[in-house]
Amino acid sequence: MEAFLQFFNDYTLRNVLLGTAWIGVVSGSLGTFAFLRRQSLLGDVISHATLPGVVLAFLVWQRREIGVLMIGAAGTGLLATALIQVVDTRTNIKRDGAMGVALAVFFGIGVLLLSMIQNLPTASQAGLDKFIFGQAAALVQSDVTVLLAAGGVVLAALLLLWRELKIVTFDPDFARAAGFRVTVLEGGVVTLIVVATVMGLQTVGVILMSAMLIAPAAAARQWTDRLSIMVLVAALVGGTSGAAGAVVSAFGPQIPTGPVVVLVLTALVLVSLFLGRKRGLVWRWHRQRRSRKLADPDTVLGALGALEAAHAGTVRGHPKAVVRMAVGQSAQVGQALAALRQAGLADEHDGDWSLTERGRSEAGRRARDQGG
């Protein structure tokens, strides 16, 4: 226990924990908008596309502070989204194709640049390739300060533009008609997403940062229909996962932070999908079971009688599935059929159910009663 406490007093871990959790909070709240605007994969493209920017910034300034690298990353990230936008609106290429091209080409250029600086004599470039999967342990105090500042700006922008973002997200046509500058706002959202993505590069890495944006929102969506609550829940989910990832990866230098964070996130998404309020799969199954109420024996007797009347003499019996359809789609007829057999009114041969002599006259009598 003491070792455990000491572990939390550790300077590096405190930085890492704070940094990663904060990234989760920021990307979670912002990802909500990407998720709702059906732009979940945009974060994926942006994060891959930041790689050449990171390397270029390093080449230009010969420094690897997170603030410096963020500038380059944001540059190429924005460039990639602009390319997607142009190709999507001006050509016959569909959006998915444009995204695939942007992602692969920018990442490829990043790989090329990385391979080139590996030939350079500069020693400090070591560790730049950690951006691929992220290494939270490399976070130092000044990095955390930059992260806190950048995230603060993003969240402040989110709050200031709350009403505008809400309208643009849910009804862009109305927003346009109401005089909002939709294109500018959409560009603003993308810029914020780029900043959030770039924040996570060093700890979570280029490839997995997209999950940090989308998964918290996907989990939060299952618990509420209100945007404000969804943003808060997503921030909570993101922050928790980030913290959990930082702690777990602190146990061994070979454990990469990004994958751990993503796996924790995925677990939270699955829990939310199953247990989410009202919409959760478990409740849905439960409701379906209940609504499939047991058919009562009298109804089944009538249905079987009607079936036999319709197919008089052509078939020996009817399978259970047919009886169920005759009674109504979701009814459960098994117990009713068993009850009828016990009463000697129906019988089963090789899975086919038919009425006994007594059952037939009983069914006929009821049909007449009902008719009269």
Binding site: I93, G100, I109, P259
Partner: protein, 370 residues
């Protein structure tokens, strides 16, 4: 060029040709980002298969790893079908999860194995040709080359054999179903082909660059042609050409071959995007400008036609008034009136007042009628 370099070049071209075949259909079916997901998750397949058959490149391992691509797509479908998340989010949740599992397994279990993080994101064409195919003490060239040539032939043969099925299922799934072609069988066939190709290309270009090899040449080809056959051929051709150019760049700057090829593919795409005769941005811009001018000339003619009863020298007919009435700039007004004059649609009265010629009147009537 040394024989080793030549082998690298031929291998690179084979990889691009092999990737272009499934890629062309993925782009047509709007599954580019599904390809992205598959190429990431085959990593987990490779790690798991490696734990069972610890022989890198073994055909059994390639196939085992490819199953993960199908699992990914099934997972995405399953998530989508709950109705709780949309397709884009389903993709964005599924593949990072499986990919993370793969990365984590590598870093925890396969430390000393023939897999490392470096390979994951870029592979290495240069390194990949060092693995030689040797039979009975004779060398037959790089293993990767043979593997990718095999995959290319397999992909090509399948695409030719099921040409009709692929075409109908892609362009008209309902017709396909009525003709007895199962769209989902075609779908998963293509997913499996994509996975096998991604696994095959894993050691030469890695898990992520392979997306570019699959998607960029077909998207570029799509800007150039509307014929399916030409599109397929062009996709393969552009892939091979990029490999050639990329190889040359990599050799010059002493950098990653896969990265350089991606760069050339991107440059080719941008060039075509700008300059494609019918679909390019320049052509598009020109068309828009021409349309703007044509529309303006018609507006001018109609404007003069509407006010023809007011007499030849009214404010409405004054050349300078167009700026007010039609909201044109002085420069634009001048250009349009000159053009209309050259075409014989209008004539000037004392230079400042405009009148319609009989040709212009007829055109205005036509425009208003139709």
């Amino acid at each position: 060029m040394s024989s080793l370099e030549f082998e690298i070049l031929v291998t690179a071209m084979t990889v691009s040709a092999a990737c272009a075949v499934p890629g062309a259909y993925l782009v047509l079916r709007q599954m580019s980002m599904v390809a992205d997901a598959i190429s990431h998750t085959v990593l987990l397949g490779i790690v798991l298969a490696f734990l069972v058959v610890p022989l890198y490149g073994h055909p059994l391992m390639v196939f085992g790893a490819s199953v993960m691509g199908v699992v990914t797509v099934l997972g995405i479908d399953l998530l989508k079908r709950t109705g709780l998340v949309r397709e884009d989010a389903a993709i964005g949740i599924t593949f990072p999860a499986l990919f993370s599992l793969g990365v984590l397994l590598i870093s925890l279990l396969a430390r000393d194995a023939h897999l490392d993080e470096h390979m994951v994101f870029q592979g290495d064409l240069v390194y990949s040709v060092f693995q030689r195919l040797e039979l009975a003490d004779r060398g037959y060239g790089p293993m990767t080359l043979w593997k990718m040539a095999g995959i290319f032939l397999l992909n090509g043969a399948l695409a030719l054999r099921f040409h009709r099925e692929l075409k109908i299922a892609t362009f008209d799934p309902v017709l396909a179903a009525t003709l007895g072609i199962s769209p989902s069988l075609v779908h998963f066939g293509l997913v499996l082909m994509t996975s096998v190709t991604a696994v095959g290309a894993f050691d030469s270009v890695g898990s992520i660059l392979v997306i570019g090899f699959m998607v960029v040449p077909p998207v570029t080809a799509r800007l150039l042609t509307d014929s399916l056959a030409r599109y397929l051929g062009l996709s393969i051709l552009l892939g091979c050409a990029s490999s050639l150019g990329g190889f040359w760049i990599a050799r010059t700057v002493n950098g990653s071959v896969g990265g350089s090829i991606s760069l050339v593919m991107g440059a080719m795409f941008v060039a075509v995007l700008l300059a494609s005769p019918r679909r390019g941005l320049v052509a598009d811009w020109r068309r828009r400008r021409r349309q703007r001018v044509e529309f303006a000339v018609r507006m001018l003619v109609i404007h003069l036609f509407q006010h023809r009863t007011l007499g030849p020298r009214t404010e409405e007919n004054h050349a300078g008034h167009l700026e007010v009435h039609l909201g044109w700039s002085a420069e634009f007004s001048r250009r349009i009136t000159e053009l209309a004059e050259v075409r014989g649609l209008i004539s000037r009265v004392d230079t400042h007042w405009l009148g319609l010629t009989s040709v212009g009147e007829r055109q205005a009537e036509q425009a208003l009628a139709g």
